[in-house]
Subunit: 396 residues, 4 copies
């Protein structure tokens, strides 16, 4: 049944037919001119999505976690200090990776539901007179809590402290769905993936890398081969990969970029905001609270929602799946049992979102949540009606 209903996990997202078909491509010779002519424009066009003119795009056949590893291992050496704020599962995991790679991780502990603490970053960086901190690591969109952080504010904090550290950003669950301005925000490495805003299958991690980050490649002592920027850039320059490329995903990426540019990136972002507002309207109608603590933190790609006291969010997501064939995100880490998540990113429509809201409402009612059937749907309907784009084109 899960093939018929959309998924409402915060990625991988529902793959539009157009992209499924693009990825159906039969094996071609990745050393032949076809491929060479395909790869270069894909890398170039992806820069627009990252918001960079001066950086470059590097991709590996891996998941987002591999992208984090590429980010640190190409720029840092064992013993280097990195500054990270922990406010969710994904920032937590990145910290864990840094520790395993022998980095000295200076952690700013934050309450889950909050975002990147620019002021505390500034204080920590200002205190670092010896400039031991080599990189600041930030999760743009914390998928576990549905919190979007203000990267521009982090950059401002770094600038205020006149600190030369690299700024690395995890934008796996935000890129191509929410505005991202790598150049304007002074981001040095941004890590994204094929399976979220790009609406493709999992299997390609996509990085935006600044020249400043590239300048660290030779001095970085962390060992790497599969994720080595140098090998990849050298091969890319000749039109290839240092090993077998993920051909189907690259053709998929070409088509994904076409779709994004046809719709217009600003329209893509506006659509995500609009759908997210619908979900938030439903949440209010149910009388439930978001994990994100204030409107400026609300993510437009995923909403983490507290269940009422005395209820178990895992029972809710289980019910939705077993009774109605619907997949929602479970609560991760300290949110397990306390919150569930609705993914609303990628190629969704109003009525797809409404179907998810209608389904979770039924599951809530089955479990005797104090909500009224149809109330969340009605609130979202009201929002969708009021905010409907003037002209609606078919996606032929």
């Amino acid at each position: 049944m899960s093939d018929q209903n959309p998924v409402f996990i915060p990625g991988p997202t529902n793959i539009p037919d157009r992209l499924r078909h693009a990825m159906l491509v039969q094996t071609r010779d990745h050393r032949a001119p076809d491929f060479v002519e395909t790869l270069a424009p894909v890398l170039e066009d992806t820069k627009r999505v990252f918001g960079t003119a001066t950086g470059r795009v590097i991709t590996f056949p891996a998941s987002g976690t591999g992208g984090w590893e590429a980010a640190i291992s190409n720029t840092l050496s064992p013993g280097d200090t990195v500054l990270v704020a922990r406010y969710g599962m994904f920032s937590h995991r990145w910290i864990d990776m840094c520790e395993r790679h022998g980095l000295d991780v200076q952690i700013i502990e934050c309450e889950w539901g909050t975002g990147a603490p620019a002021a505390r970053f500034e204080a920590a960086l200002s205190a670092d007179k010896a400039r031991k901190i080599k990189a600041v690591l930030v999760t743009h969109n914390e998928t576990a809590t549905g919190v979007k952080s203000d990267i521009a504010a982090v950059r401002a904090a770094m600038d205020a402290a006149s600190h030369p550290a690299l700024l690395m950003v995890d934008c796996v669950s935000s890129l191509a769905s929410m505005p991202f301005e790598m150049d304007a925000w002074g981001v040095d490495i941004a890590v994204a993936g094929s399976q979220k805003g790009f609406m493709l299958a999992t299997g390609m991690v996509i990085l935006g890398v600044s020249q400043k980050a590239l300048d660290h490649m030779e001095s970085a002592k962390l060992p790497r081969t599969f994720f080595d920027f140098r090998d990849m850039m050298n091969s890319n320059a000749k039109g290839g990969f240092p090993y077998t490329p993920p051909l189907q995903l690259i053709y998929g990426m070409r088509e994904s970029l076409k779709m994004l540019f046809e719709e217009g990136l600003d329209n893509v972002y506006a659509r995500h905001t609009r759908l997210a507002e619908g979900v938030r309207a439903a949440t209010r109608a149910w009388g439930l609270d978001l994990v994100a603590q204030s409107p400026d933190l609300y993510s437009d790609t995923v909403s983490a929602i507290y269940v009422p006291k005395g209820f178990d969010s895992n029972a809710l997501t289980d019910r939705a799946f077993t009774a109605y064939g619907l997949s929602f995100g479970i609560g991760l880490g300290q949110m397990n049992g306390r919150a569930f998540r609705i993914g609303h990113l990628g190629m969704l429509t109003d009525v797809m979102v409404l179907s998810g809201l209608a389904g979770i409402e039924m599951a809530m009612a089955d479990l005797n949540y104090p909500i009224r059937l149809g109330s969340g749907v009605a609130a979202a309907q009201e929002h969708f009606r009021a905010s409907r784009p003037a002209i609606l084109k078919s996606a032929a």
Copy 2:
């Protein structure tokens, strides 16, 4: 956008991925053993869906209209009398075809919203002392009005009149979605199509034919070649077609039958009833009326719903399409402007149906219908919750 949202027209229906992939088959030699081994079981297994052990299944690469033409041209001769009741657009079109083929059509005019009038059939047949009537033509499920007729009652009427006419039934929009009992009901020719309950692309008309009907083949004088039962049966017996077969649809049909039998025909019918009841609950919640005049006539595959006086149903379906990317059936014939239709057949889930209800509600609200947003959805949710099957399996 229409590729992402389900369609709610009463056919062609949403094609499950499993069947789309089955129809992706590359060209094979239709004279090779592969094909021979594929076709025979498909024809045999389809008999179960028609509810016939004694009849046979004949298929042509055409639409349902072609099946009607096959039915009459293989059994009747110019000047033959047929008895038909007109209570909707599809019964009307069949009448028109008979007239064009030089048949003498004895029409029983009925109000739209009613079904096959067994008593009036009996009267007409009893009055036909000369046995001029060669066939009684009945539309099992009138797609224009959402009315299901009682074929067993028509058969009882024919038997009561001891009339030897053939009984021909259009079950295009009912077969494989609602119970059909060709043998039990004494149906001589039943006409179905690939694009409704079989969930495939349009392009194959599928007929169940009794031995009694086959006995008329040689004497029937209406000209036909493409639709000739004899050529088809002769070729089928050797494993082929008298011309190029619709290979992709036949492979699709094989997989469709597997899906139907895996779910179980009774479960398929029960699922259609349950979803239809949800739509009817929503209709009541909106304060709207079905075109079908009484519960015994309610179709489980399509609901035709009157819009309130003063409203134009075409404006409603247009709004749903242009504003929300949703396709519903327009009002046909005398219902044009007065009623819209919700198709709820084929491979649908609860939440897919809810998405359609939520969408049409928004369109109604946009046009100032006197309905409350979320009310229809809530009524359907309530029904779906109450009637949820105990165990829900994944469709892996």
Copy 3:
């Protein structure tokens, strides 16, 4: 195995991925604007392939046989005389259809391996002082014998006799593969199909119809509904079909036309000639004879090849299938057992053709044919090398 090797039957042809994916389209509402905007240009663009500016294109969800039935039933009345030359299985079948529809068929019997006998047509038409002959029926490319007829010569014969009969041409296995000039040749109805030069699945018959043919619609007395030109044209004018259209095939047709026009029709024809010449070079190298009696008759889409005396062509095609997974056309009608056929139409490459030649050579050797392994392949290779287009582009 047949999914991996190309088929070498004279249609349906190997479907390029690009068209298979185009036909994967999910169900859309055929009454919605999307479809309306799709259908009209498809019909219009198809005119270029027929070589007509003044005629129109009409399509039905059926096979080529249905197209023949549409051609005669929309223009003729029972008892009308038609003039046909019989020189193969397909001309034979069309004759049979005319007879079943009550037409008076004046047959010119020709030896199989010859084409349309322009001089004998002229004689027959000149002798028809009463102008009883209403139509001349010609098979452009006789798939059973691999013979291409000269339609311009038939038109010249008709003109020489100043005869007003309609000229109907079966171009099922030639259109979109070999030049066809409906206007220049004065063809009134041309019948083609989706599954040959258009490289699609079977299921759509495509007719080019002149205004002169359309002028016969009202007076034509043969009964028809499914295949009625008037209903179809009326519905097409409003953007639809009189019944459920074969949506997937129409989207496929749109993409097929794009492919044909991208390659250029002249290039498509030249490619077919070049590949056919390769097959004929192989045939000569094997010391075998074509059924087509002279080079001017050689078809560029299918070659029918006599097996040596004492050999059974069915054993050969069986061997190729069972031993090497290759499908070739069997000998039809009086050629059964005496000739086999190699289809070389649609989207084929040099090396695909060579694979077929290599395979049939192995089967011949297995059956002790007096041929040398590799000899046919080498002759075709020599031709392909010598005639290679200067520039070869990838079909990205």
Copy 4:
């Protein structure tokens, strides 16, 4: 054009439709029961292909190179010594990776065209009294030279030296195409990929890991997170991945295993041998030499073939691609310009192989190679005929 012709690169291989369709699966929730029930049997069944009952299978979303990195980083520490023989590009690259990861690489230089030197391994291991060598790294099938090494002999050498080092084997281009016996050969880590014998898209590296190798996980000091065995095994035990899994490839893998087991692994290997023998017969007929120096070294998945003195192998592969749309493997490393490669692994048929041979022959002739057109094809045909399996079943 490359979509129509098979590719003859030594991987990625031509993907059968059945597997392309399996990988078309829409996004599902990788934390839902569906996925859990899918992953475990896939991992378990893959053990059969590795030939291990006691080891386990670990997979990462990456290419083969990533698998090498996983192999060393989960078992070794900086400064550890590894023993490797260099006899081709892939053994060379693995050496390079080890050096970059701070390992002390003891290299046995061998002539390209030879395989793993068991005797020299034994000498080196016997000389290592201090047991500094922690691992022996061997490339089972050197894709650059078309050389298959005798892993059992390497194991025997290790045993003869009573050396406790781990035995790591790259079987990327051999597994699922040529026999591999992990348990019998005492292999500790075997590295394979999705895109060769498994006939899938690139993107999943698949490792067979012995308990002995797993025992090194905790002590191994090379940093890793993405490729950490422990995280993966812990997550797999709960039915998931430590990050987003490559869902489409896992569903593809499930179907690939079905295909392999349906054919039977022994039949799969025999088919590869038979096709490879055909290519070698053609090579002899052309008067060319294999890079592999003796028959016991011949790979059944790829043949590297020297071009005659004075010719440039790159010109040949370019010609084949630009003139005939065929992709062959170029000469890698010291073979660049001197040899080209024919990949003959994955789902190929006799006639597909013949099409490649016919194509490269044309390219050779175009470049004035001293070969006779059709000669290689004929030699392969002769072999294929003689070795044809008694019964050939369709791959319905």
